[in-house]
Symmetry: C2
Subunit: 363 residues, 2 copies
């Protein structure tokens, strides 16, 4: 699988090393500029509806021992990544950190994992290659998919063709760490339904919601992994599927929706790759808590603070979110997805979701 | 799938209800006795090497309003479970809690989820039917399997035959909530390797360890779910596979090994069903930290306390564990699985695991 993406990623890494070489060759002190990755240098791009970095940059320069050491570590890491791509291997961020202990220069060893994680982020930004294309794997993999989709996954043991209903058990298809190894072959789905909790995902599968409504049920497993967000984006872009997000009705779950739709501050350089700004929120909406008379818990102080900070967040400054969040602060209550079971186990699939999806113009 | 197990579970539930009926019919106040589920009533069964309940019992009797309400809730829950089995449905513990809001008696509604969880545990113990056989699903599903095993999963959409190397992507086969729906068809594996972290699981799969050594790589995902422990037990019992457990080298990870091998206090009534007392610990052993000169972190105070409490735990009162734990307290250090990468990405599969497995008599 020494694919085009691999060679391109390798080339960009080598270009970066060549730049240091040229700087030294012409008598300059080598340096590398990257956008400052602090909260104050993240701006919401209103046109694209995603988070991006602002214009402030910081420079890693070899004009101090500290800076020189950072560049040395970058160069060792570039060499490691170049070899990794050459040999079609991959590794985790944690392995990179430990592996640096085997490097021949003690000065190039990482002091802690934050340092190696940050360097990989630097290299992602400067080279415009994603971590996945460096073949750096996350610690935890993505979640699962169930629905009418046939795909081909390029594994290191060869290609696998898998239909995400017919060829999988009840657990569904496990999304690989790098979903760009997947090619979509055939899709009978009409939309993506991304679901926060395992209990609700299992309910939808048991009730055959994916079959009855041609839905691709993607389990988010709480705050979704990069692999899950990337796959969701690709399902939207390449198959033209509307993406809907179904979570608990509390401020933390609205952030889960936000990370699917708008990206996160931590990965603002990847918003274009990971975020799906067209994703729509199904619920549980504060309005649903009232309308369907759902069992609730009172908002805690930290819930209230989180809701208030969402009101100040440009991502949630729409009429829709302001209305919902203010309603929630007003009623002082939150509900879980599974609270819909108070109207029976089939209420969510026979009544709630069809009504919401039809209101949203998806069904 | 109204299988024999379902009818048996239904019968046991009905027997329980019939007992209440008979008590009332003969003029007795209905009651139900169950083992006290406190730490002081858990004993380690030295013969079976697992935790079991002691002889202390407590009685739920209708001779108080509180007790009568508990029995009322039990009866409503029995009716719900009986219907659920009759219709071949399933539900989560959380759904049961919310669903009680729809019951016609307000007195039968659960006050919080602890109450409904506990009642299901009571019913498991009294009826000797597992939660899985009541078709109660956990919130989170089991982990994944990769290796030379062909199985048949009975899903509600029909049977699925899956080979856990040839028919799955790099993510592996997702263990369903109830692994007793799986039938083992053909197995070329020589042993089970249960792995704590996702990063290490991915390393083993990337390096083809399952292919080269005929290993079934089961991802534990930290503290393993019931489904994962049940599957591991079945792989041992039905296929005669040795089970080995590979975790980080710290007291919390030794507890992960303990829960695979000996069961947990919380599910002591299920040890026979979930625990695999013959499971062997591979490492990372404190001895390995020294021998392989692994990168370490210092033990924190809570690590030290946890190690000391393990020394008092009958499960770890063997020469092996006492030696290892005392060595660890002595060196004051811990290491992660992935620290083995300090000797290169292939060290774990080419050197460490083969050496350990051969020492243990597995390879």
């Amino acid at each position: 699988m020494s694919s085009d993406t691999s060679s391109e990623a390798q080339q960009k890494l080598i270009d970066l090393a060549a730049e240091f070489y040229d700087q030294m060759d012409s008598g300059e002190i080598p340096e590398m500029s990257i956008p400052t990755r602090t909260k104050s240098n993240i701006v919401f791009d209103e046109d694209e509806d995603v988070w991006v970095y602002g214009e402030r940059e910081s420079t890693r320069s070899a004009n101090s021992i500290r800076g020189a050491r950072k560049l040395l570590k970058a160069i060792y890491t570039i060499e490691f990544l170049d070899n990794q791509l050459e040999e079609d291997r991959s590794s985790t961020l944690r392995e990179l950190y430990y592996l640096s202990e085997s490097w021949d220069s003690n000065e190039a060893q990482f002091n802690d994992q934050d340092e190696s994680n940050q360097l990989i982020e630097d290299l992602e930004i400067v080279s415009e290659v994603t971590r996945e294309d460096f073949h750096m794997r996350p610690e935890e993999s993505g979640a699962t998919v169930m629905g009418p989709l046939r795909l081909r996954e390029q594994t290191r043991r060869g290609e696998r063709e898998i239909h995400c209903q017919e060829d999988v058990g009840e657990g569904g298809y496990q999304i690989p760490n790098n979903p760009d190894t997947i090619e979509f072959l055939e899709c009978d789905a009409d939309f993506v339904l991304a679901v926060e909790t395992g209990g609700m995902r299992d309910r939808l599968v048991e009730n055959g919601f994916d079959e009855e409504h041609n839905a691709l049920v993607v389990h988010l497993k709480g705050q979704p992994a990069r692999a899950t967000r990337r796959l969701t984006r690709r399902l939207h872009d390449e198959l033209g599927l509307p993406v809907t997000v179904f979570t608990d009705g509390d401020p933390w779950s609205y952030r889960i929706y936000g990370s699917v739709a708008y990206g996160s501050i931590k990965s603002a350089h990847l918003s274009e790759y990971l975020a799906t700004p067209e994703a729509q929120f199904i619920g549980v909406q504060p309005e649903d808590i009232v309308e369907y008379d759902l069992p609730t818990d009172p908002l805690s102080d930290s819930d209230i603070n989180a809701l208030e900070s969402e009101l100040e967040d440009p991502r949630y400054q729409t009429d829709y979110w302001e209305e919902q969040i203010e309603l929630q602060l007003d009623i002082g209550k939150k509900s879980e997805q599974q609270a819909l079971a108070s109207h029976g186990l089939d209420f969510v699939t026979e009544t709630y979701l069809p009504e919401r999806l039809s209101d949203m113009g998806v069904l």
